[in-house]
Amino acid sequence: MKRLLGSFGALSALVGLLVLGGSVPARGEDGVTDKEVILGAGLDLTGAVANWGVNIKAGMEAVFNRVNDAGGVHGRKIRLIAYDHVYQPPKAVTNAKRLVERDKVFAMMGHLGTPTTKAIKDYLEEKQVPDIFPATLASLWTTSGKWHVGDLATYVDQTWLIIDYLVKDKKIRKIASFYQDDEYGLDGHLGGKARLKHHDLTYVAEVDYKRADIDFSSQAAKLKESGAQAVILQAVYREPPRLAEQCHAIGYNPLFIGPSPIVLDKTIELGGKHVEGVIGVEVYPLPTEPGPFLDLYRADMKKYFPNLALDTTNLYGYQKAALFVEALQRNGRTLTRDSLLKSIESIKDWDPGWGLKYTYGGDNRRGMSRSARLVVVKDGKWTKLSDWMELQEGGRK
């Protein structure tokens, strides 16, 4: 027994030493070599939001390919390793571990989806791996700790804009919420609830659906019964057309309006005339607008992905990658995860050339100056409805 205790003591001392030794940062940073920076991405390439995933990946690669063809940044080329998480949180976790522990990526880049990115948040924080510009605008990222850096106005900010627009401009007081029953849908849903309270209102109906659901007839019936004049779509691109169809089928024609994830051409392709008049919030310009940054985007997409149509989805990835390259350039040759965060924070009032400015620094890890505007589906195209506005910071309480 004594011997057993003794060896146990020795063992725990050894473990203690190892733990102590491990906590001293012996920094040859993972994923950075003389010639390369390796980035990881978890995207949905084959699942319910594959359109976003495939296009975000292409948009990011268009920038990286151009930069690499010109010799890279400070002599280092950028390599992106992307895995498919099928929009499923458990798979996202497996992929993140594979990227961090086996592929040894320097940072996670453009990780797609709110529920999926939330699933890997704590892991990345623990491993001190930067989560750069995840492709989710949940308000969660404003309070997620040091290693998470968002890029655009959040779903809560956007929903506050929607509510104010409906109540003040459209004089609509019967507003319903149709939301995805997970961290994504709930973010805007709860933010909207908080903003309605400010106007002394509540949702007249709160109707949820599950990720990858395909039938919304019961949701349509509930919305109709509530008599809502406007329905806020905390959804992606597959649900709004189907919901609109099923509402129209029972003779119910409310105003549909939703945050940025619904603003893509796929929504129109699927919905046709049923999505005519749907309003969306946009947090960056349309792919067809003028400006040097968008000219470059169009040229890069044509060169590297000639078979992909220009769409808000690949522009979303493209602007993330362009912002990342700007940070790398500011960083200089000595690159660590800490120095990357500092370089991002040095970005202030920076305009890549499309009239919207990014600002980081202090506690503000979201960057873009909360710019947004409204767009509407008109004659089968997303069309400008309002000018750019500075959103106030929304909250869920």
């Binding site: 029953d181 129209h248 089928a249 029972i250």
Partner: protein, 291 residues
């Protein structure tokens, strides 16, 4: 209220009819060959893509596409039977079932490689505009789906009842040995069964894909149809039809009275309840075994 409820029932019936068609495919193959074909859902998906290719890529007229899709789906069924099932016909049933699961994965991935994983809208001749008849409110799409499904079921019924081949198939389902002794070619009947099942799945694909959009994961709808087939009593043709329809309606109503979470599990709750009370399903013959 009444109007909303009836429209819920009608649109549930439309989805339920599609479940019923897929469930029929399961049951036909099971009755004839004792195999549960887990690629049945993929028949639906592949036929959706066949009609998409003919309609959108080649611009053929709708009726030609419908006919061609059914025929091509039939060939797909025969192909699967010849390539995957027949070579291992003497293996335990369990191995064959696993082989069909493998086939379903291959079909799904192939569709993904060829068409990508994005959702595609499949054109249809049925309008999605509302039609009102008294307190009934539905779309031409719903009516079209229900009508076409019933027509297919009727055609199948007549085929089994009136034709010689149909009788041979029923005979094979009852006793393969006796059928063979009567001069029925069992291998031909097997091929034909797979062809019919896949063709029925093909109809389901053409009907459902315009409603829920087309993508390589469309075949997952087969899981619900399978539940429908069990609900009705696996092995019973009327059971598959009633079970599928019941499922569609129940799904809609539970979504209406409760929330999306309940809607998702309601079918399985019902399934368990029915199986507890009637282990052989609604229409299934209780299996009595003499010991």
């Amino acid at each position: 209220m009444a109007e909303i409820l009836t429209s819920q029932v009608v649109s549930g019936l439309a989805t339920g009819c599609v479940y019923a068609l897929i469930a029929l495919g399961f049951v036909l193959i099971f009755k004839a060959t004792d195999v549960v074909n887990f690629a049945q859902g993929e028949f639906v998906m592949v036929s959706g893509f066949i009609s998409y290719t003919l309609l959108v890529w080649y611009g053929l007229p709708y009726w030609v596409v419908l006919f061609a899709t059914i025929v091509l789906s039939g060939f797909m069924g025969v192909g699967l039977e010849r390539l995957v099932v027949r070579p291992i016909m003497d293996a335990p049933i369990f191995s064959i079932v696993i082989a069909t699961i493998g086939a379903s994965t291959v079909l799904r991935s192939s569709a993904g490689i060829i068409y990508g994983y994005d959702v595609l809208p499949l054109p249809t001749i049925f309008s999605k505009d509302p039609i009102r008849l008294g307190i009934l409110s539905f779309t031409a799409m719903d009516a079209g789906v229900i009508g076409s499904s019933l027509a297919i079921m009727l055609a199948l019924y007549l085929f089994f009842k009136l034709t010689k081949t149909g009788m041979a198939m029923r005979a094979t389902a009852q006793s393969q040995t006796a059928a063979r002794l009567m001069g029925v070619s069992i291998t031909r009947i097997f091929s034909l069964t797979w062809a019919i099942s896949a063709a029925v799945g093909g109809v389901a694909g053409v009907l459902i894909a315009p409603i829920i959009y087309l993508d390589p994961n469309l075949g997952l709808i087969g899981v619900k149809a399978f539940a429908g087939a069990i609900l009705g009593g696996f092995g019973s043709i009327p059971g598959a039809i009633v079970g599928g329809m019941l499922l569609g309606v129940l799904e809609n109503l539970s979504g209406y009275f409760f929330n999306a979470g309940i809607k998702q599990v309601s079918t399985y709750i019902l399934l368990i309840l029915v199986l507890v009370v009637r282990p052989s399903g609604l229409f299934g013959a209780a299996s009595v075994r003499k010991v």
